[in-house]
Subunit: 259 residues, 2 copies
């Protein structure tokens, strides 16, 4: 066997998509059509079985190239990306809120931002949280979380973790948004932020994430762990999970040339 039939079909379809022969949004031929269309691979006038065609489509879906909608058809996926400049957020001088920062950044790129489902709760710290905040596992932490949307599409989830001893007596314990922002609120209580470390990984989404972010098959997520520090140590851990197909993170390091 030279190469599996379904791989040949997938490769040919992939080629057509990458060459722009089928542009984003285009509907692919239906499965029965593809059966006869690629029948020549096994013989003149022959047809492929439906399973073989579906295996090929599964490959492309897992690559995030196409998206199947039951009852409608299969379409070339189209996604626009939003760039997050992650290196100059949370400037010491700014009095703007986190919300404002997000709204401003998105609006500049000509999109419509939204923040949803703001929640505050108290949880026991998981291992990856405890390690970064330098507390013990299962120590209580304050969690403030939300979802973000761009142009009505789910884009990212955010969870911020604060050590209990820092949060007590501050507005961080309030179950609503803070007008002047959490960074400023912590500063007012003697925990001025001096910097942060971002750790970035990519992986396939969990089931829950796929639902919340409305990710199709074959779309990975970008996960960012931001540990913020005061001079005394960690004051916050923020975990952002971004839809991988519509997010670009940017960091400016050192000096940038004048434009």
């Amino acid at each position: 066997m030279a190469e599996a039939l379904y791989r040949q079909v997938a490769s040919d379809l992939r080629l057509k998509i990458n060459k722009g022969e089928w542009s984003p949004g285009t509907q692919l031929p239906s499965e029965p059509v593809l059966e006869t269309l690629y029948g020549y691979l096994v013989g003149k006038g022959a047809r492929l079985s439906r399973n073989t065609v579906r295996l090929a489509m599964a490959v492309l879906q897992n690559e995030g190239l196409v998206e199947a909608r039951q009852g409608r058809g299969t379409f070339v996926r189209e996604r626009v990306t939003f760039t997050v400049l992650a290196s100059n957020e949370e400037g010491a001088s700014s009095g703007r809120t986190d919300r404002d920062a997000f709204v401003a950044a998105v609006s500049v790129q000509g999109r419509h931002p939204e923040q949803l489902e703001f929640r505050m709760e108290i949880r026991k710290a998981a291992l990856e949280v405890a390690e970064r905040l330098r507390i013990d596992e299962d120590d209580p932490v304050v969690v403030r979380s939300m979802h973000r949307l761009i142009d009505g599409r789910p884009w990212s989830t955010q969870e911020s973790f604060y050590p209990m001893d820092l949060a007590t007596g501050t507005m961080l314990m309030s179950p609503s948004d803070i007008a002047h922002g959490t960074v400023e609120e912590l500063r007012r209580h003697g925990h001025a932020q001096i910097g942060y470390r971002d750790e970035i990984v990519c992986r396939m989404p969990s089931q829950g994430e796929a639902v919340v972010l409305r990710l199709g098959a074959g779309v990975p997520v970008l996960e960012m762990f931001r540990t913020a520090y005061s001079v005394a140590g960690p004051i916050r851990l923020t975990i952002n999970v971004y839809a991988g197909d519509s997010t670009r993170l940017a960091y400016d390091i050192g000096s940038q040339p004048v434009e």
Copy 2:
């Protein structure tokens, strides 16, 4: 229908893996065994069809949780991650080479680094390259590329693009490694690097990348575009493609607390 059978099977297997009931490296029950094992989902004493079981396994493979090897079995995937501190590389003071930086960073984490397949060629600039180097599409660029391995496993590919006018007359045109490093070589020719911008995206690998990096199904890649600047403008674009399941990028922004 409550939920598709194959999804129920996948969910249950996923749960067992995540709970650590099956640790990394463990062999999963074979397909025929799973058919009977989960037969109870459709009725007492019943069996699932092999297709259903295989669909469930495909889900887990696409999530990067397990890895099937023909003739052997299906195994819980095990991967260790390597962290790249991307924010303090290429310091102006260091005389170290790029190679040394990689080797040192990996060795510190107790692993064995390798660099392979060094190549130099001249190509026409693709759009994404031309935009960042601020040259015209199809302008010639010097490309220097390599693969990197950790503990004998492919880990990342790197391609560095230099504008033709900067590279001519420098060692960048030589088809071999530069002892003092490319940053230093450019500085000697009047193009001192003052900073860079990193852009990070994640996506599913192309077929070629999956082969070169030996990625199993369901493993995404992290792609980093690093545009380096002198005071006059862009002097280099480096594109790194990392195996997503074994890479963590880190950026330190602002001050870090003293340890």
